[in-house]
């Protein structure tokens, strides 16, 4: 066993040797290694987060036909470090009427809930924090913790705008959690497992081919869960100033911002893991670091798509948003789930390529029927509008 075939085991064995050499017992060394591993993973996520600030600023600049940060270091790469220093030395203002405990807890919980997700993300075949047998349920649960943080922030600020922002977030979360959880069942059916590692490992055919509609619904629901545009009603500047984080300044705001970016990247990562094969790629089994590279690349593409949507689509009204979820996304996701379940059962034992083909065609069929229904409804609404216009004159 060398470093390249299993870097984590290699480093762990070496550290274990060092620690036992110092006279520590086996279990104490194991505990220390566990803590060190968690610290390393969290540090990686946080440092990567700083890099994400640069990516976000550079990409939004390109979308808006600007250059973005380009003065500090190569390609402006050191700009986010300057941002962090500036945020740290800024005065922290706590509003007089706020509930101090929850007000201070909220930003920490907001980023903590995202870091919790990193515990189960498989970066590569043998590089992961934890292979949980209830991974998917855990992801849903940890995601809900972030919502709780934002409700804390909105309520504890004692500000009407902040409270309205938090209320809107509850409406979003309560709505879009349903299609998201339903769609999460599809990889579970295809892989026969809730373990995220197992779902990645069983994707000989990417699940996006078996269930393109599922991937699309998951992406939309994820964007809504993130509270990013076009679903960013929690921080609609033109209506409620800055929403839940209106009273936050300095590093506390910085934590919210960092948490939001890392959350978006993490969900880009989940799209990659659940539907695009995660770390799978040529040579990933022999060289885990290559697998980690594939995963990061796919996650970055997912994150880029989320950014693309954010900077292209205008914000939609809250009643439209809820109608879109309850009248379109939820029924569609349930139909996709039913079709996938029945086909998976009926097609047990056929050749993989035939299985994939029928799954793909069934999704195309659902999409076509949906579009036809929408077209018919749209035509009827248009005709009604015309008759009303005619009746008025």
């Amino acid at each position: 066993m060398t470093f390249w075939s299993d870097p984590i085991r290699f480093v762990a064995d070496w550290l274990l040797g060092v620690l036992t050499g110092w006279g520590l017992t086996e279990s104490a060394s194991d505990a220390i290694l566990m803590v060190l591993g968690a610290v390393a993973l969290i540090t990686f996520a946080l440092v990567f987060d700083i890099f994400l600030v640069w990516v976000e600023r550079k990409v939004v600049a390109r979308f808006q036909d600007r250059l973005g940060p380009n003065r500090l270091g190569p390609f402006g790469l050191f700009q986010p470090f300057a941002d962090v220093i500036k945020l740290i030395i800024k005065e922290d203002i706590t509003p007089a009427g706020a509930n101090k405990f929850l007000y201070n807890l909220a930003p920490v919980l907001s980023i903590g809930s995202v870091l919790l997700l990193w515990a189960v993300i498989p970066l590569a075949p043998r590089i992961y924090g934890l292979d949980m047998n209830v991974g998917l349920l855990y992801v849903v649960a940890a995601g809900a913790l972030g919502t709780l943080a934002i409700i804390f922030a909105g309520w504890a600020s004692n500000n009407k705008y902040a409270l309205l922002g938090a209320f809107r977030l509850v409406a979003t979360m309560v709505a879009y959690e349903v299609p998201m959880v339903v769609v999460l069942l599809i990889p579970a059916i295809l892989a026969d497992s809730l373990s995220i590692w197992q779902i990645t490992a069983s994707q000989n055919i990417w699940y996006v081919i078996l269930s393109p509609l599922g991937a699309l619904i998951f992406l939309i629901a994820a964007i809504a869960e993130l509270g990013r545009s076009p679903f960013d009603l929690t921080e609609a500047e033109s209506e409620i100033v800055a929403g839940y984080n209106i009273e936050y300044s300095g590093m506390k705001f910085g934590l919210f911002y960092a948490g939001e970016l890392l959350h978006a990247f993490t969900f880009g990562g989940f799209v990659a893991i659940l539907f695009f094969g995660g770390w799978r790629g040529p040579g990933a089994e022999q060289y885990p670091l290559l697998g980690a590279f594939y995963f990061m690349l796919k996650a970055m593409i997912g994150y880029w798509v989320i950014m693309w949507v954010k900077y292209t689509v205008p914000r939609i009204r809250i009643d439209h948003m809820l109608a879109f979820n309850w009248k379109f996304l939820t029924p569609l996701s349930l139909v996709v789930l039913m079709v996938t379940a029945v086909l998976d059962k009926v097609l047990a034992g056929v050749a993989p390529w035939l299985y994939a083909l029928i799954m793909f065609l069934s999704n195309l069929l659902i999409a076509w029927v949906t579009i036809e229904i929408l077209r018919a409804l749209g035509r009827r609404a248009g005709e009604q509008a015309v008759t009303q216009q005619v009746a008025r004159y």
Partner: protein, 118 residues
């Protein structure tokens, strides 16, 4: 199994302590010059009337009920989805019927006009 949850607990604690350290550093180096104007609630420059901790009409309690029903439904569906390969076809169809009943509930809500934001 227990070590798994211990690891998650460790992750939760570390994931909150490490960002909190940034706040501590900020607390050490940042200036602290509070005054009543600065600490007043920011509502676009207009002086605040009353506090925000009032009873408020939530528009979406029907949505919340529907959400609860569907969320509980998916919790029931997770074991069904996992055991799909071992179940006979009849049990799979039963699961489908279960989903259809809930869809009927959604259609009922829709027809009643409870899915409108009002």
């Amino acid at each position: 199994m227990q070590t798994e949850w211990l690891y998650i607990g460790l992750f939760l604690v570390l994931g909150m302590v490490m960002p909190a350290m940034a706040l501590m550093i900020s607390w050490l180096v940042a200036p602290k010059k509070p005054n009543p104007i600065k600490q007043s609630t920011y509502e676009c420059g207009v002086e605040t009337v009353g506090e925000a901790w009032v009873q408020f009409k939530a528009e979406y309690y029907i949505f919340a009920l529907a959400f609860l029903i569907f969320d509980v439904e998916t919790v029931f569906l997770f074991p069904w989805a996992l055991a799909l390969d071992k179940l006979p076809l009849f049990a799979v169809v039963e699961g489908i019927v279960f989903i259809l009943i809930l869809l009927a509930g959604l259609v009922y809500l829709w027809r009643k006009g409870e899915l409108e934001w009002a």
